[in-house]
Each structure stands twice: as C-alpha cells, then as structure tokens.
Amino acid sequence: MNISSHRRTRDRVVTVLTYAAMVFVLLLPFALFVGLAVKSDLLFREHSLGDLLFSSVWRPSSGEFGFKPFIVGSVYVTLLAMLISCPICLLSAIHITQYAPTRVAKVVTTAIDILAGIPSVVYGVWGMVGVVPFVGKIAGWCGIQSNGYSILAGGIVLSIMVVPFILNILMEIYRTIPRELTEVSLSLGATRWETIRDVLNRKALPGILAAFGFGFARAFGETMAVLMVVGNVVKIPEGLFDPGYPLPALIANSFGELGSIPEIESALMFAALILLVVVLIFNATLRWLIIKAERY
C-alpha cells in the first residue's frame, strides 16, 4: 500500500466518522421524542389529548390526569422570569458593550461567568431564605395572605438564573457588530443613543431574538430552584402571590413513583413530552423569526 492510498483511506474513514456523528446528533431529539411518546401511550388509551391538556383535575389515584395547572404554572413562571430578565439583560448588554470602559466591561464579564457557573440548587436555597420572605412581605403590604412561596418568587429566582446566559449571548452579539456601522451613523449626525436604537439594535435583532429564545428554553425547563420557591400546589394560580406547580417540578417531585403505578409513570412521561414539544415548537418559531430578521 503506497502512502497516497493510505492517506485516501484515512480521509474516507474520517468522512464516514464525522457523518455518523452528525446523524447521531440529529437523531437524538427524535429518539427522545419517540421514547417519551411511546411511554405516554398508556395515558392516551383512556384519555384524549384535549382532556389531558385542558382539564384542571389532577387526581392520579382515581385516574384523573388534568395537566392544565402545571402547564399554566410553567407558562406563568417562565413569562414572569422573561419579563424581568430580558429588559435588564438588553439594557446592561448595551451599556457594557457601548458605554463602559474596557476595564469595567472585563470585570462585569468575569462576574457574569461566575454567576453562570453557580449550581441551580444554590439559587434555590438563596431564593428560600431571601426572595420568599421578601415576597411574603410585599404580599402583606398589598393586603394579601401569602407565605411567599409563589409564582412571583419562582419568577424572580428564575429571572436571576437566566440573566448570565442571556446577557452573555447579547454581549457577544453587540461586540460582533462592526464598529464602522456606529461610525457611519455618528458621521450622519446621529447621537450615540439614536445610533444604538436605530442601527445597532436593528442589526442585533436576530441575535436578540436568539438570546431571548435560549433564555426562554432554559427557564421553561429549569427545575430545582423553581421547585424550591414556587409552592408546588396543584391549582391554577390566580395571582402573582399564588403558589404554582410547574411541569419540571411535577416530574422532579414524583419521580419516586416511577415504576409503581404504570399510569402515573405514563403521566410523567407525558409531562416530559409536553416540555420537549413546547421547547421544540418555540425553537422552530424563533428560527423562522431570526431568518426573517436576518434580511438586513
């Protein structure tokens, strides 16, 4: 075997290997989906999809599985977290990349990396001793009875947890915008703020959408910290100070029952399936928005 055929063989092997790895990665979400769907099948034999998604009665012992309280709880907590964190992240990313001196930007970047590395259970504990009593107090001032374990507490803790992730992406987005674009806008007589508002933000839009989407997906699936502060009461929350019970918390709290009653196991698989599908649909929608925004 001469050298060149040796090299050609190696080339081919590498091509096949990389291809196989790619196929494997592409199959993963599909495999996950199929696995969960198959395991949820038992539940579908006795309940319609409509019943499962829109009924509020959750009585596993008597075979009633209404997921609405969990779905609504998840949506509330996640939306609240996004509502708090997105504006904060956007404004601070703009300040750090456009106004702050290099040294300050470096310090902040380091701090954010540290925040991103903190385990979620730490945020949870901090939420229990810090955020929950605080929320309880606010409820008191508003004349509402609440021990603080609530949608609001969950939203606050969650919002703080996603800040480093969203902020990191946003800073990267603003940093990659060519400086010349700023120069051009300034030279046309725009102020710094007009430039940011009309030019940089427009240029950053696809990235901003991606960052928010990434944050949403993370927040929607975040389990531990939320579970510790949100109250975990199966009831559709009617206000910020009401407790809630998001989907990931349901799974985490009941996994001990896996393997005991088949129907409950199937219900938990279905809960996981809902999480997966929501995140997939959300990502697909976002892709589409990003592609639309990338025209410029």
Binding site: T102, E180, E183, V184, L186, L188, G189, A190
Partner: protein, 271 residues
C-alpha cells in the same frame, strides 16, 4: 524657509502649500497616544476648501487615525489620549463645548468597505435626511431620488428601493454609502481607501465621482494607490510613522518630491 512652509503659532511649521484663508480644516499640534504607543506625532497641517486632498503613506503610519480625529470618531476608543486640536473653520473638534453631533454632520464618511445601514435602500438615504430635519413623504422621495442620481445609482435601484441594502453588489453599496453621506449635505467628505475593496469598474466610478465632487466639497481621501492619487489629487499629504513628512500640490509632489522618505516611498521602497 521653503515656499510652502508657513510659520504657525508658537513657532510651529504648518504645512500649508496654498494661500492663507483658503483652508477649511486646520490640524494644530495634534498628538495621539493609544496606551503607550504614540500614534500621531505633532501633526500641523491645513486642508484647503473645495479641493481633493489625498493622504498617502505606508500602511500603519496613522492615516486612518488622522482621518478619524477630524470628526472625533476617536471618542469610540476610550483608551485614546489626544492633545492639540483640529479646527473645522473656527470650530474646535476636541473640546467639551463642541457640539460634536452638529460638527460630524458637516463631514460625510466613506470607509474602506461599504457599510450599509441594516435597512432597505431607501431608508439608507432617508436615515440621514430624517436626522437633518422634518420632511414630508413627498420631499423625502424626491431627495432620495436626487442623491441616488448623484452617484448614478438611481436607474439600477429604482425598482427595488424597499429591498435590503446588503443585497446590492459591493460597488453599488459603496455608491449608496456615498449618496447617504451626501444626503446630510456636508461640507467635507472624509474617505478612507474608499476603493480598496472594489472591482476596477466600481473603483473608477467612485474615483470619477470624487473628481466631480471636489468642485463643491472638500474631500480628504486616504489611499494607498499611487496612480489613483496621481489621477485625482489636488494636494498630497505624505505621512510616515505617525508624522506628516510633507504636504504639496499633487503635481509637485509626484514630479519633484522633496524629502528623502517621500522619494523612497514613490520609488516603492516601503511596499
């Protein structure tokens, strides 16, 4: 004393190879440091009104930096220190009382590569117009057409004014950028190697534009293409290692270079 050397304030030699009172930009003892590097070294030079002045010099000698000082884009780099000043007419560029937004509006900017704004073709022109004042829709339409015609782009884009500017070819983009700069009605146009990213045809188009514009505008153009400078420059400023070596009328500069570095540069020694 050479004929084109004029005694400036505080005994500095100001490069001004033309009569006093004809200048629009006066660089007065300008020094610029970035961290520990001394990038611009005591620059004293005046630029004549409604002429095309070319800044020549080997790569890294500070041409871009000098250009960016003129409309204070150096503000975007926080660790830069500037001493001395530049005057646009009577207005100092560096100074806390300077209305830099108004001053920048007097100076169009054309960069090395075209950077269209992330908007459609129409709005690329309208953006500057809207910053300049209030216009009705009809007035805007008229002005957008006017400036696109100025750069011979109208016929090429009139049917797709609403499509993203980035879809244009690089050459078209650069002409769009020129039109965008002209639309805010500046007195001065600063251009940093505006043809270096373009194909020969687009490059020639921009060059012709510049030659024509120099009747009504003061053009300051950085270039590294000697032949281009020879073709269109009225005056040449030659820089080397952060200093202005000489400023001369173009003809004289090329036919009868005075300084040793200039001669070497023209002979191609720095490339």
């Amino acid at each position: 004393m050479e004929s084109n050397m004029n005694q400036g304030k505080e005994g500095r030699n100001i490069e001004r190879p033309f009569a006093e009172g004809e200048s629009i930009i006066r660089v007065d003892g300008l020094n610029l440091h970035a961290g520990k590097t001394h990038i611009l070294k005591n620059i004293n030079v005046e630029i004549p009104k409604n002429k095309l002045t070319v800044i020549l010099g080997p790569s890294g000698c500070g041409k871009t930096t000098l250009l960016k000082c003129m409309n204070r884009l150096t503000d975007l780099t926080p660790d830069i220190k500037v001493s001395g000043n530049i005057y646009i007419g009577e207005q100092p560029v560096f100074g806390s009382k300077t209305d830099i937004v108004a001053l920048r509006r007097k100076m169009g900017l054309l960069s090395q590569r075209p950077f269209p704004l992330p908007m459609n073709i129409y709005n690329n022109i309208a953006y500057g117009l809207k910053l300049r004042g209030k216009y009705t829709r009809a007035e805007l339409n008229e002005l957008v057409e006017y400036y696109l015609r100025q750069v011979n782009l109208w016929d090429e884009v009139k049917d797709r004014l609403r499509s993203p500017a980035v879809r244009l070819s690089i050459g078209q983009q650069q002409r769009l950028c020129l039109a965008r700069g002209l639309a805010v009605n500046p007195d001065i146009i600063l251009a940093d190697e505006p043809t270096s990213a373009l194909d020969p045809v687009s490059s020639e188009a921009i060059e012709k534009q510049f030659a024509a514009l120099s009747k009504d505008y003061t053009l300051v153009m950085v270039t590294h293409v000697l032949r281009q400078a020879r073709r269109i420059a009225d005056y040449v400023i030659f820089m080397y290692l952060g200093e202005v070596i000489e400023m001369r009328p173009a003809q004289e500069f090329f036919d009868d270079p005075r300084e040793e570095q200039t001669k070497k540069y023209l002979a191609g020694a720095f490339n």
